[in-house]
Protein backbone atom coordinates (compact mmCIF):
# COMPACT_ATOMS: atom_id res chain seq x y z
CA UNK A 1 0.00 0.00 0.00
CA UNK A 2 1.29 3.45 -0.92
CA UNK A 3 2.51 5.69 1.88
CA UNK A 4 0.87 9.06 2.35
CA UNK A 5 3.28 11.59 0.79
CA UNK A 6 1.21 14.73 1.32
CA UNK A 7 -0.86 16.24 4.12
CA UNK A 8 -4.02 17.78 2.75
CA UNK A 9 -6.07 20.61 4.19
CA UNK A 10 -8.59 23.02 2.79
CA UNK A 11 -8.84 26.73 3.52
CA UNK A 12 -11.98 28.12 1.87
CA UNK A 13 -11.74 26.81 -1.71
CA UNK A 14 -7.94 26.39 -1.68
CA UNK A 15 -6.60 22.86 -1.34
CA UNK A 16 -3.20 22.84 0.35
CA UNK A 17 -0.96 19.82 -0.12
CA UNK A 18 2.07 19.84 2.18
CA UNK A 19 4.88 17.52 1.15
CA UNK A 20 5.86 15.12 3.94
CA UNK A 21 9.22 13.91 2.63
CA UNK A 22 12.50 15.74 3.17
CA UNK A 23 13.92 14.22 -0.02
CA UNK A 24 12.10 13.82 -3.30
CA UNK A 25 14.61 11.71 -5.22
CA UNK A 26 13.53 8.11 -4.80
CA UNK A 27 11.51 6.73 -7.74
CA UNK A 28 8.85 5.10 -5.55
CA UNK A 29 8.47 8.19 -3.36
CA UNK A 30 8.16 10.45 -6.41
CA UNK A 31 5.65 8.10 -8.05
CA UNK A 32 3.45 8.01 -4.94
CA UNK A 33 3.83 11.76 -4.36
CA UNK A 34 2.96 12.58 -7.98
CA UNK A 35 0.00 10.17 -8.05
CA UNK A 36 -1.44 11.62 -4.84
CA UNK A 37 -1.19 15.15 -6.21
CA UNK A 38 -2.81 14.09 -9.51
CA UNK A 39 -5.56 12.34 -7.57
CA UNK A 40 -6.47 15.63 -5.88
CA UNK A 41 -7.32 17.12 -9.26
CA UNK A 42 -9.73 14.24 -9.90
CA UNK A 43 -12.01 15.94 -7.39
CA UNK A 44 -13.86 18.79 -9.07
CA UNK A 45 -13.85 20.77 -5.83
CA UNK A 46 -10.05 21.00 -6.12
CA UNK A 47 -9.42 23.71 -8.66
CA UNK A 48 -7.14 25.91 -6.56
CA UNK A 49 -4.14 23.86 -5.51
CA UNK A 50 -1.23 25.06 -3.39
CA UNK A 51 1.71 22.71 -2.84
CA UNK A 52 3.78 23.50 0.23
CA UNK A 53 7.43 22.34 0.02
CA UNK A 54 8.63 23.70 3.37
CA UNK A 55 9.72 20.25 4.61
CA UNK A 56 11.57 19.38 1.40
CA UNK A 57 15.34 19.87 1.42
CA UNK A 58 16.22 18.05 -1.80
CA UNK A 59 14.46 17.24 -5.04
CA UNK A 60 15.88 15.69 -8.18
CA UNK A 61 15.01 16.25 -11.83
CA UNK A 62 12.66 13.25 -11.55
CA UNK A 63 10.59 15.21 -9.03
CA UNK A 64 10.65 18.24 -11.32
CA UNK A 65 9.38 15.95 -14.09
CA UNK A 66 6.48 14.83 -11.86
CA UNK A 67 5.61 18.49 -11.28
CA UNK A 68 5.55 19.12 -15.03
CA UNK A 69 3.16 16.18 -15.47
CA UNK A 70 1.00 17.65 -12.72
CA UNK A 71 1.06 21.06 -14.37
CA UNK A 72 -0.24 19.54 -17.62
CA UNK A 73 -3.15 18.02 -15.67
CA UNK A 74 -3.76 21.37 -13.95
CA UNK A 75 -4.14 23.03 -17.37
CA UNK A 76 -6.28 20.18 -18.67
CA UNK A 77 -8.88 20.50 -15.89
CA UNK A 78 -8.73 24.30 -15.74
CA UNK A 79 -7.26 24.47 -12.25
CA UNK A 80 -4.77 26.97 -10.81
CA UNK A 81 -1.55 25.83 -9.17
CA UNK A 82 0.80 27.68 -6.85
CA UNK A 83 3.95 26.36 -5.15
CA UNK A 84 5.27 27.71 -1.86
CA UNK A 85 7.88 27.14 0.85
CA UNK A 86 10.62 26.17 -1.59
CA UNK A 87 14.09 25.97 -0.04
CA UNK A 88 16.63 28.42 -1.54
CA UNK A 89 18.88 25.60 -2.83
CA UNK A 90 15.95 23.91 -4.58
CA UNK A 91 14.89 27.30 -5.93
CA UNK A 92 18.24 27.45 -7.70
CA UNK A 93 17.32 24.21 -9.54
CA UNK A 94 14.05 25.86 -10.62
CA UNK A 95 16.00 28.89 -11.84
CA UNK A 96 18.58 26.81 -13.75
CA UNK A 97 15.85 24.84 -15.51
CA UNK A 98 13.76 28.03 -15.93
CA UNK A 99 10.83 26.26 -14.31
CA UNK A 100 10.54 29.34 -12.12
CA UNK A 101 8.93 30.87 -15.22
CA UNK A 102 6.55 27.95 -15.67
CA UNK A 103 5.28 27.68 -12.11
CA UNK A 104 3.77 30.39 -9.94
CA UNK A 105 5.93 30.33 -6.83
CA UNK A 106 5.22 32.11 -3.54
CA UNK A 107 7.42 32.35 -0.49
CA UNK A 108 5.04 31.21 2.24
CA UNK A 109 1.77 29.31 2.51
CA UNK A 110 -0.03 32.51 3.50
CA UNK A 111 1.37 34.27 0.41
CA UNK A 112 0.15 31.34 -1.67
CA UNK A 113 -3.36 31.40 -0.22
CA UNK A 114 -3.59 35.16 -0.77
CA UNK A 115 -2.52 34.74 -4.40
CA UNK A 116 -5.72 32.88 -5.26
CA UNK A 117 -7.87 35.82 -4.16
Amino acid sequence: MAQQRIDIKKIADVTIAACRDMKLNDDLVIQEWGDQLLELLGDKSCRKLLINFEKVLFMSSSALRALITLNKKVREVGAVLFLCGIDENIMEAFRITRLDNVFQIKRTEDDGIRSFQ
Partner: protein, 140 residues
Protein backbone atom coordinates in the same frame (compact mmCIF):
# COMPACT_ATOMS: atom_id res chain seq x y z
CA UNK B 1 42.48 16.59 -13.26
CA UNK B 2 45.20 18.36 -11.31
CA UNK B 3 47.46 16.35 -8.99
CA UNK B 4 45.81 16.42 -5.59
CA UNK B 5 46.31 14.88 -2.20
CA UNK B 6 43.07 13.26 -1.13
CA UNK B 7 41.82 12.96 2.43
CA UNK B 8 39.00 10.57 1.61
CA UNK B 9 38.40 8.26 -1.31
CA UNK B 10 35.87 5.68 -2.30
CA UNK B 11 36.21 3.49 -5.36
CA UNK B 12 33.75 0.70 -6.04
CA UNK B 13 31.65 -1.10 -8.63
CA UNK B 14 28.04 -2.06 -8.06
CA UNK B 15 25.07 -3.54 -9.91
CA UNK B 16 22.62 -1.03 -11.43
CA UNK B 17 20.48 -0.17 -8.43
CA UNK B 18 19.49 3.25 -7.11
CA UNK B 19 19.29 2.03 -3.49
CA UNK B 20 23.03 1.29 -3.60
CA UNK B 21 23.64 4.61 -5.34
CA UNK B 22 21.77 6.47 -2.62
CA UNK B 23 23.87 4.76 0.08
CA UNK B 24 27.01 5.93 -1.74
CA UNK B 25 25.66 9.46 -1.97
CA UNK B 26 24.91 9.38 1.77
CA UNK B 27 28.53 8.35 2.47
CA UNK B 28 29.83 11.28 0.43
CA UNK B 29 27.40 13.68 2.10
CA UNK B 30 28.55 12.46 5.53
CA UNK B 31 32.15 13.31 4.57
CA UNK B 32 31.15 16.76 3.34
CA UNK B 33 29.21 17.31 6.56
CA UNK B 34 32.20 16.27 8.66
CA UNK B 35 34.47 18.68 6.80
CA UNK B 36 31.93 21.50 7.05
CA UNK B 37 31.21 22.21 3.39
CA UNK B 38 28.43 24.80 3.11
CA UNK B 39 24.78 23.84 2.72
CA UNK B 40 24.79 25.31 -0.79
CA UNK B 41 27.86 23.26 -1.82
CA UNK B 42 26.49 20.07 -0.28
CA UNK B 43 23.21 20.55 -2.15
CA UNK B 44 25.08 21.13 -5.42
CA UNK B 45 27.21 17.99 -4.98
CA UNK B 46 24.17 15.95 -3.93
CA UNK B 47 22.36 17.08 -7.08
CA UNK B 48 25.30 16.29 -9.39
CA UNK B 49 25.77 12.83 -7.81
CA UNK B 50 22.05 12.06 -7.97
CA UNK B 51 21.66 13.08 -11.61
CA UNK B 52 24.91 11.43 -12.78
CA UNK B 53 24.06 8.15 -11.03
CA UNK B 54 20.48 8.17 -12.38
CA UNK B 55 21.92 8.72 -15.86
CA UNK B 56 24.38 5.84 -15.42
CA UNK B 57 21.91 3.36 -13.90
CA UNK B 58 18.63 4.15 -15.63
CA UNK B 59 19.68 5.59 -18.98
CA UNK B 60 23.16 4.09 -19.46
CA UNK B 61 22.66 0.61 -18.02
CA UNK B 62 18.89 0.62 -18.60
CA UNK B 63 18.50 -0.53 -14.96
CA UNK B 64 19.97 -3.91 -15.98
CA UNK B 65 21.21 -5.56 -12.73
CA UNK B 66 23.76 -7.51 -14.78
CA UNK B 67 25.47 -4.27 -15.75
CA UNK B 68 27.81 -2.50 -13.35
CA UNK B 69 28.39 1.10 -12.42
CA UNK B 70 32.00 2.01 -11.63
CA UNK B 71 32.24 4.82 -9.11
CA UNK B 72 35.22 6.79 -7.81
CA UNK B 73 35.08 9.78 -5.49
CA UNK B 74 38.05 11.69 -4.08
CA UNK B 75 37.78 14.47 -1.57
CA UNK B 76 40.05 16.93 0.20
CA UNK B 77 39.42 20.22 1.98
CA UNK B 78 39.08 22.20 -1.26
CA UNK B 79 37.84 19.87 -3.96
CA UNK B 80 35.65 16.88 -4.67
CA UNK B 81 36.31 14.86 -7.83
CA UNK B 82 33.92 12.19 -9.06
CA UNK B 83 34.12 9.66 -11.90
CA UNK B 84 31.13 7.51 -12.86
CA UNK B 85 31.23 4.93 -15.63
CA UNK B 86 28.35 2.81 -16.89
CA UNK B 87 28.31 -0.15 -19.27
CA UNK B 88 25.73 1.30 -21.65
CA UNK B 89 26.09 2.60 -25.22
CA UNK B 90 26.84 6.15 -24.08
CA UNK B 91 25.27 9.39 -25.23
CA UNK B 92 26.27 12.81 -26.51
CA UNK B 93 25.42 15.41 -23.84
CA UNK B 94 25.51 18.12 -26.53
CA UNK B 95 22.68 16.35 -28.37
CA UNK B 96 20.32 16.55 -25.40
CA UNK B 97 17.69 19.18 -26.26
CA UNK B 98 18.03 22.28 -24.11
CA UNK B 99 15.10 21.98 -21.68
CA UNK B 100 15.19 25.74 -21.07
CA UNK B 101 14.23 26.47 -24.72
CA UNK B 102 10.66 27.68 -25.02
CA UNK B 103 9.75 24.69 -27.20
CA UNK B 104 11.25 22.15 -24.80
CA UNK B 105 10.34 23.71 -21.46
CA UNK B 106 7.49 21.25 -20.84
CA UNK B 107 9.28 18.10 -22.04
CA UNK B 108 9.86 15.42 -19.46
CA UNK B 109 13.58 14.71 -19.88
CA UNK B 110 16.93 16.46 -20.27
CA UNK B 111 17.20 18.44 -17.05
CA UNK B 112 19.72 16.15 -15.35
CA UNK B 113 22.64 17.09 -17.62
CA UNK B 114 21.75 20.78 -17.33
CA UNK B 115 21.65 20.58 -13.53
CA UNK B 116 25.01 18.76 -13.36
CA UNK B 117 26.70 21.35 -15.62
CA UNK B 118 25.37 24.22 -13.52
CA UNK B 119 25.93 22.84 -10.04
CA UNK B 120 29.60 21.78 -10.41
CA UNK B 121 32.78 23.62 -11.36
CA UNK B 122 33.65 21.27 -14.22
CA UNK B 123 31.83 18.37 -15.87
CA UNK B 124 33.14 16.36 -18.80
CA UNK B 125 32.02 13.24 -20.61
CA UNK B 126 34.27 10.89 -22.58
CA UNK B 127 33.78 10.62 -26.35
CA UNK B 128 31.53 7.56 -26.06
CA UNK B 129 29.47 9.31 -23.38
CA UNK B 130 29.42 6.51 -20.82
CA UNK B 131 31.87 8.16 -18.40
CA UNK B 132 31.35 11.43 -16.60
CA UNK B 133 34.01 13.18 -14.56
CA UNK B 134 33.07 16.18 -12.51
CA UNK B 135 34.69 18.40 -9.91
CA UNK B 136 33.36 20.90 -7.44
CA UNK B 137 35.71 23.42 -5.86
CA UNK B 138 34.98 24.65 -2.39
CA UNK B 139 34.28 28.37 -2.14
CA UNK B 140 37.12 30.29 -0.49
Amino acid sequence: MNAQTWKWSNTCSFASDMATAHKLIDQVMDQLEATEWSSKEKFAINMALEEALVNAIQHGNDSDPNKQVHFACNLNDNLIAVRIEDEGPGFDPDEVPDPTDEEHIMIAHGRGVLLIKNFVTRAEWNEKGNIIEFEKERAV
